[in-house]
Amino acid sequence: MTGPLLSVSDLRVHLDTGGPPARVVDGISFSIRAGETFVLLGESGCGKSMTALALLRLLPPAGRYASGSITLGSTDLLRIPEQAMRDVRGRRIAMIFQEPQTALNPVLTVGAQVGEVLARHRGLRGAAMRDRVVELLDDVGIADPRRRAEEFPHQLSGGMKQRVMIAMALAGGPDLLVADEPTTALDVTMQAQVLQLLREIKERTGMAILLITHDLGVVAEMADRIAVMYAGQIVEEAPRTEFLGAPLHPYSRKLFESLPDESRRGAPLAVIEGVVPPLNTEFRGCRFETRCERRWPTCALLPPKWIDAGAGRYVRCHLHDPAMRDIPEGVARAGRAQTAADGPRQKSHAAATLIVRDLQVHFPIQRGILRRTVGHVYAVDGLTLAVPPASTLALVGESGCGKTTTGKAIARLLEATGGEVRFDGIDVLALRGAALRRLRREIQFIFQDPYASMNPRMNVADIVAEGMVAQGIGRTAAERLQRVDSLLHQVGLDPGAKSRYPHEFSGGQRQRICIARALAVQPRLVICDEPTSALDVSVQAQILNLLRTLQEELGLSYLFITHNLAVVRYLAHEVAVMYLGRIVERGPVEEVMARPRHPYTRALLSAVPQVDPETGRERIRLRGELPSPSSPPSGCHFHPRCPVAEPRCRERYPAAVSVGPDHTAHCHLLAPP
């Protein structure tokens, strides 16, 4: 076939929200060739998801096409009637979405939902349809597909649901698969499996993929070509190697620089100042101008042209415009973030702030009319860890491994069923009444979803001051209000924000409010439960910088719960890797990251997509998923998924083995035979 499979030309989509329309997609053009993976990269609100919906003519009711064309083969999709469009959807262009949790209909079986596509586009009925459904489920790697086809979405794990979505998309045999953040809601190990599946399918079927993501690691893993979107426009387009080697647009560069990783430890991460400009304003110059460190007067006056930079690369930036010869000296030099030495760090020693020994949180499973206890969920099952003063312990693991339960049990938001928690020598699990309330002052919590963790009917001042009132900090309301001001200032918010309500803030600002709320009672330990996983990379960088600065200024200890290993590398001093309710490996972060010893840690590390143009590094792919914590496997919990398991692994749980200074792992293979 000659010519592109899909070409989008000068597409403009407006959202009517009262007042001037928001130009969410503002004149974008790109084309996708058969069999290639084209990535649209950008942060939330840049218009990438709206572009995807626009391709399928599935815009929300407020959206409308202002201009442009979308040509699939030889058909302009914007000029055919809706009925003809329905033959394109699912048949020629299929789509998978970010949240497999909500993208499947909860009251229909998986088989019915896949079968529907076959009936619609392939004319299959009855037994032929059911057989094909089973075949498709098998193709996407679902074990026992005949039984799974009869099940409902809630009976499947997140990774399996995304596989079902993919099976559904493949059912019509499409030429193009639009995948909107297909792995964002999944764990790294699941993400690696799903990305691998997409690559295999692409090779097998020759289907093209339009992949939408904000994750540079996913870009490196998947892309043939990349387009970077900013404020409704494509600002750069390049083949994979060129892009990862040296992105041209200042915005693309910033995205790379704000990634947390080891080499940037101790130094602040690059942040992009300011916010994305509202899309209903008239732009005169470059849209990135107000936030760009390399701007010069022309940028505010003239919109940059789409410049061919050679070798298949295009960029929308005055710096690369050969017609602009008068760029002042110095502006054009790129300033990649400086790498600095490790920050001040206290060695872990006996005087740990928090010591957790053999912590257990078991939930009873109750069944039947009399609610008899028929078993237990061993969410946390004998966990031991210590957080030294003024340092950060990262607790990492897949979702469902018990990380959050551990955090909640330590803060006594959940009752532990066994073990010991000591905070400064105080037996935390024995505290009652007023003593327990005093503990709440020492240990604070920051949650994953800042919006959901604030009362929407309270203003910022009340949210931040509530803890102070409860703990009797500040004698008068005026005194507390003064403290609210200084707290907001400390977390980088304008104190004038205090009379506003949570919905008026962006995600990053909301998380700052939550941090201010936690700091209001002057805690010594803050349990951060995935505090940046709901945020964009550049915003994540701001929050990580803030947490690091606060630790230095206030000597805070963090128990940092996360599944993001890049964040661990950047922020943590020590790391504990958790699997099915227990710690399988712990040690200083440099040590564990550089020399992981437990097979699970190794698999976890190798599953993380690397922003690295080189491919071909060793990769350990985990089969299957986290087993249910209500019936953990015998012996070492990890043995059913372990690539190097031996017979003895099935028999008993391995004891801790010291594998380096302060570095231990629970694995039979590390112990002397």
Binding site: R89, L104, V117
Partner: protein, 306 residues
Amino acid sequence: MIGFLLTRLFSLAAVALGVVSLVFLLLHLVPGDPVEVMLGESATPADRGELRRSLGLDQPIAVQWARYLGKLSHGQLGESLHSREPIVELVTGRVRATAQLGAAALVVSIAIGLPLGVGAALRDGRRLDRAALALTALAMSIPSFWLGPMLILLFSITLGWLPVSGRAEAGAIVLPALTLGIPLAAALTRMVRASMLQVLSEDYLRTARAKGLPPARVTVQHALRNAALPIMTVLGLQLGGVLAGAIITETIFQWPGLGQLTIESIQRRDYPVVQACVLIISLTYVVVNAATDMLCGLLDPRVRMA
């Protein structure tokens, strides 16, 4: 699935026992002495004592309660003080009439409420939606004691199409069913609309559209099936309220149902009959709700496996 139904049936039995006991207790708390009502002012203390003993009213309340339950379990409701007929016979025909009226009202409400609610949700904020909202607000605020006579005035007296009252003539059920069904239809329209609006913004509807399914299938198979759950739960509650509302409608249209019997018995101070009526109405309410609960379980796999 069987386990789910058994659990629900068990809790239904427990609630029914509670209702029966509560009705029994309430009647004992009501001021006034049934013996006095039965024998009149002129009876001698000896006569009263005699009757009290023969009715078992001299026993401790726990014993009376146990006996009452025993009788109920054999389907005995006692006899009317007014007509001396067994209450079971008195009530059977009445229950049938009310059930007929309730079913007809339900048909009216679903026939109007479901399509109107779905249509309003699909055209959120546009003309049909605004008209539906205005109409339902009006329909819900009209009291049945006004709506009933107006319907009679229009269809029976002016147009002469339908009988004024009673149950004997053909078509007699139409007007009472409309009187009872229209406010229910209005409430249902709003519930369907709200529930559909919620579901229409769900991700899985976008998935369904992205599959290339025609709009009718998206609306019925994907949206309505999910929207049905909250609708049914509320409809169950509403239907209970409708049965209580039937008292007024039945009185207006001289419909020989349970509501009418209740009113008559109250006027005649026929306490055992009142007790039986209250019991039947309450139990119907409980049973209807348990039935919706089970129906939800059938429709939503998440409910039945929880």
